[in-house]
């Protein structure tokens, strides 16, 4: 392959990186709603098309030609320092010593490294495209674009609700689109310095987006996100330094080809720690929980296709170096612990967004655990989970946002009986929930592969078994709340959603339903070649019916739910087939809707039943200190594992 890469691939990479920047500039420069809508939608389409194009034509490396006579490497260096300078400016504005300190701790070593350590004469391919990068680009570009499209009508409503006098949407969409470009850059980077640059851009974008509303909680959460991720940034710089010291190169492909173990482990551990902070693994979970103060599309973006996925991507990418080492086992332990701890913390929550946030942290922990185990099967599970989790979680956040705009609450207790008020949104929410926990949907399938791949490591598998059951509890409870039907009447006002919201929700729900059916194809064409996992489902130890791991095997599971839906519709359509009656109240129901019964003295006694949140065990306040303490101990173990 020629050093510049094949022209088609080069063009696609250029589109994936430059179009978001261009779109962001237009969004910021022309504060006109129709222009913004057109630009954002066009960007989404181009990104989606380019990512699909990359899937079919693009493999290999790409080195962008110099612009004028300035090399792209120097541009990135300038960008690094400019970004750090801006962050330092924010540190001063926020009077934040910690952010200032962390920025200096990145800038100073980086400057030393760039100007006196790094040998600038060796050429490194800037970008490398392999199947993992392509999977990530698809997740970022397709799901990310859907989220941004959803954000267009959402932000109008959001600003109306906040009584914003001067729209801040140009700024909002500037950072949202830049975010996608940075994520694409991050996953395509082959030069560690490029990777670091994009890593920092995502940190900065998330800081700006979390603080978007400018309220006090928003500013505080943004600050927390900035300093916690800057800790990751410092670790990243240390990792670059160490990696170069050992391997004498920043070429990621070359570093990974060194094989497992050796002196590289220590700097790689630092890079993995950077990934851990970005993926909000315990004890660094609080920044992601705080991030939910942002407008919901931001959460949807951070939790599904960007930001946290950058963290797991980084760790997964580095797997060849730590595979089979003590560091790998430690990463698996930390990930498994996060999976369990975050699932437990979710049990005590009734705030819908917080439940989703903990569930994200939990699933990221599972991805980390799989990455740490670093067998072909576990790496397959990690990759699948990145994809399927992005679809389901993006969908769930968007539905919670939609629900919140319509009922004014994100508490799941307030969503009781929502199906009758908002049948469309609620149906989609239920699809999202079911896609998180039932076969044949992707998250469960990945979880299944994960448990099988962890089976040789008892301590990890115990944590996975417990965490998995806890998340089933959380999601079932929520589905039950949504599906409750206190009356038979139809909603007085039919549900109305802007078409863009509907389009985004329907596409994502469609993807959640249809993607698992293409799993055999995804495995054989995309994931298997990546991890030298040779073959099909059954050889992965994942046969549905012994020896029949084909697409056909999925049909029964679709059939179970499908038949359920069909029978329900058939029976309730024909009024003669089934009689509707009021529930049993152990007394005379007060009304047909049975929200009350006739008590003593002929008085109506309202009926109230609430979820169990098991607060004696699972309350956030009680559990968090223990979780953090456990996580810190595990991180120490991990550090020791790297040094040893």
């Amino acid at each position: 392959m020629c050093p510049a890469g094949n022209p088609m691939t080069q063009l696609l990479v250029l589109l994936l990186l430059a179009v978001p920047v261009l779109a962001a500039t237009v969004c910021a420069a022309i504060p006109v709603r129709s222009v913004r809508t057109a630009v954002v939608l066009a960007t989404g389409l181009v990104l989606a098309a380019a990512s699909v194009g990359l899937l079919f034509v693009g493999r290999g490396t790409v080195s962008p030609p110099p612009i004028g006579n300035v090399s792209v490497d120097s541009l990135v260096t300038v960008g690094d320092f400019a970004l750090l300078a801006i962050m330092f400016g924010y540190a001063i504005a926020l009077r934040s010593v910690i952010v200032g300190l962390l920025v200096v701790l990145q800038a100073a070593p980086l400057a030393w490294f760039e100007f006196s350590v790094l040998d600038h004469t060796t050429e490194i391919p800037a970008f490398a495209i392999d199947n993992l990068a392509i999977v990530m680009v698809l997740v970022v570009s397709v799901i990310g674009s859907l989220v941004i499209a959803f954000a267009l009508p959402y932000m109008d409503e959001h600003e109306k609700h906040l009584h914003v006098t001067r729209s801040r949407q140009p700024r909002f969409f500037f950072f949202m689109t830049i975010f996608l470009g940075a994520m694409n850059g991050l996953v395509l980077s082959n030069n560690l310095l490029f990777l670091y640059f994009f890593f920092e851009v995502t940190t900065f974008c998330s800081f700006m987006l979390i603080g978007h509303d400018g309220t006090r909680p928003a500013r505080e959460s943004a600050h927390r996100a900035l300093w916690m991720n800057s800790v990751g940034g410092v670790a990243f710089v240390a990792g670059i330094f160490g990696t170069y010291g050992v391997a004498r190169t920043l070429d990621l492909k070359e570093i990974l080809s060194h094989g497992a173990g050796g002196a590289l482990l220590i700097p790689i551990a630092a890079l993995c720690f950077a990934g851990f902070t970005k993926a909000a693994q315990v004890p660094m979970q609080s920044w992601l929980l705080g991030a939910m103060v942002a407008p919901t599309p931001v959460s949807a973006l951070l939790h599904s296709s960007t930001m946290v996925k950058a963290g797991v991507y980084l760790v997964l990418r580095l797997a060849p170096v730590y595979a089979g080492t003590a560091l790998g086992s430690a990463i698996a332990m930390c990930g498994g612990f996060t999976f369990l701890a975050a699932a437990a913390l979710a049990v005590g929550q009734s705030n819908g967004k917080k439940i989703l946030a903990y569930s994200t942290i939990s699933n990221l922990g599972l991805i980390m655990a799989c990455a740490g185990l670093a067998t072909p099967l576990s790496l397959t599970a990690a990759t699948l989970l990145i994809v399927f989790h992005a679809v389901s979680k993006g969908l769930l956040f968007l539905t919670v946002g939609t629900i919140e705009q319509q009922i004014g609450s994100r508490d799941i207790e307030d969503m009781w009986g929502l199906y009758q008020r908002l049948p469309v949104t609620t149906s989609i929410a239920i699809i999202g929930i079911v896609s998180m926990m039932a076969p044949p949907f992707g998250v469960l399938l990945s979880k299944w592969v994960a448990i099988e791949s962890a089976s040789g490591v008892p301590i990890v598998v115990v944590m996975l078994a417990l965490g998995s059951a806890l998340s089933v509890l959380v999601y079932t409870r929520w589905a039950g709340m949504l599906l409750a039907m206190p009356s038979l009447s139809h909603p007085a006002v039919p549900e109305r959603l802007p078409w863009l919201m509907k389009a985004a929700l329907f596409s994502m729900a469609g993807a959640a339903i249809a993607l698992p059916a293409s799993l055999p194809l995804i495995l054989s064409r995309v994931v298997n070649p990546l991890f030298a996992a040779t073959t099909h489902l059954q050889d992965l130890g994942v046969s549905f019916v012994h020896g029949h791991g084909s697409a056909v095997a999925f049909l029964p599971f679709y059939a179970i739910i499908g038949i359920g839906v069909l029978v329900t519709n058939a029976m309730s359509r024909a009024a003669k087939r089934v009689r509707f009656t009021s529930p049993y109240m152990s007394g005379v129901p007060g009304d047909f809707q049975a929200t009350s019964f006739i008590g003593p003295m002929n008085e109506r006694v309202p009926v109230v039943a609430r979820n169990y949140y098991l607060s004696p065990i699972f309350s956030e306040g009680k559990l968090t200190p223990w979780v953090n303490a456990g996580a810190i101990m595990l991180l120490i173990v991990a550090a020791v594992g790297a040094v040893r």
């Binding site: 009986g417 199906y419 926990m437 039932a438 076969p439 469960l444 299944w448 448990i451 099988e452 089976s455 040789g456 008892p458 598998v461 115990v462 078994a465 417990l466 998995s468 059951a469 806890l470 089933v472 509890l473 079932t476 409870r477 589905a479 039950g480 599906l483 409750a484 039907m485 130890g541 046969s543 549905f544 019916v545 012994h546 029964p556 059939a559 179970i560 038949i563 359920g564 839906v565 029978v567 329900t568 029976m571 309730s572 087939r577 089934v578 009689r579 509707f580 009656t581 009021s582 529930p583 049993y584 109240m585 152990s586 809707q593 049975a594 009926v607 109230v608 039943a609 169990y612 004696p616």
Partner: protein, 287 residues
């Protein structure tokens, strides 16, 4: 090739028809034995089947549509899990399919605003939370012994697994008791009209839909007992004896213990099950 198809068809038929009827009969025996233990005569052996036939003939009555969906998916998923087991599928898959059904039963109960049904549903969720991890760990133990999650491969293991997984078999017993909603773990569906929850999670299912949940429960019981049986796969007779002894123990425990609260379950029985599983797994790992 054709013999494989014939075998698959036969297995499916056994799973769909023989398994639930056998369990119905077993339930009949259970009721008789329990009655004798309580100095009553007890119903005819076929009473559980008569009950279901009668329920199926009743007018279908529900509070809302979600219940229809819940009852059907519960029954379909439970039946599918037994079929998959008999076809020799992956144990975890069998389990997840079964779990999906169990979860829909709860969703259906939650969809009705009756407090009995609501609280029953919450308690059923806690029961699921208690037995799910235990069952997964039992399967992991089987994997560590046999090197496979496939029922067909596990059943072909030449030695009895019980000898290597004694603690996990007891854990499976826990899970079975919780799954059967037998005392002391029957707090999600206490059976007597005058008691706190009427019939808990099942309160709002009636007529044919209640029959569906009953049939689903037969399938579920068949599945757990089948899992008990593969602990002694080499000999069908010893496996049958093992299942018989286990079920007899269940009946005895059911009659000898009082209902515990969910708090008690999480404080005492659940950690005990977890420690026993971990000990057994650790032993396999170190060995």
């Amino acid at each position: 090739m054709s013999s494989a198809i014939v075998r698959a068809v036969l297995s499916t038929a056994v799973a769909l028809f023989v398994a639930p009827l056998a369990i119905a009969l077993l339930t009949g025996v259970d009721r008789r034995v329990t009655a004798r233990l309580q100095s009553r005569r007890g119903p005819p052996l076929l009473q559980p089947m008569y009950d279901v036939v009668k329920l199926l003939a009743k007018e279908p009555t529900v509070s809302n549509r979600a219940q229809i969906f819940a009852a059907w998916t519960y029954a379909l998923a439970a039946a599918a899990s037994v079929v998959l087991f008999c076809l020799g599928a992956d144990l975890l898959l069998v389990f997840f399919v079964q779990a999906t059904g169990a979860v829909f039963l709860v969703v259906g109960a939650m969809s009705v605003p009756s407090p009995f049904s609501q609280i029953g549903a919450q308690r059923e969720l806690l029961q699921i939370l208690a037995y799910e991890p235990l069952l997964i760990l039992v399967f992991v133990g089987m994997y560590m012994v046999t090197g496979s999650f496939d029922v067909s491969a596990i059943a072909a293991y030449p030695k009895p697994m019980l000898l290597e997984l004694p603690l996990l078999y007891l854990v499976l017993g826990f899970a079975l008791t919780i799954k059967l909603r037998k005392s002391p773990f029957d707090f999600s569906a206490s059976h007597h009209g005058h008691q706190e929850l009427v019939k808990g999670v099942l309160t709002e299912y009636s007529g044919p839909f209640l029959a569906l949940t009953e049939i689903a429960h037969w399938y579920e019981t068949a599945l757990v007992l089948a899992i008990c049986a593969i602990f002694w796969a080499p000999s069908v007779w010893i496996a049958a004896l093992l299942v018989a002894v286990t079920y007899a123990a269940e009946i005895l425990i059911d009659n000898a213990t009082a209902r515990v609260t969910w708090r008690w379950m999480f404080k005492y029985t659940f950690p005990l099950g977890l420690v026993m599983s971990a000990a057994n797994l650790a032993w396999l790992y170190v060995r």
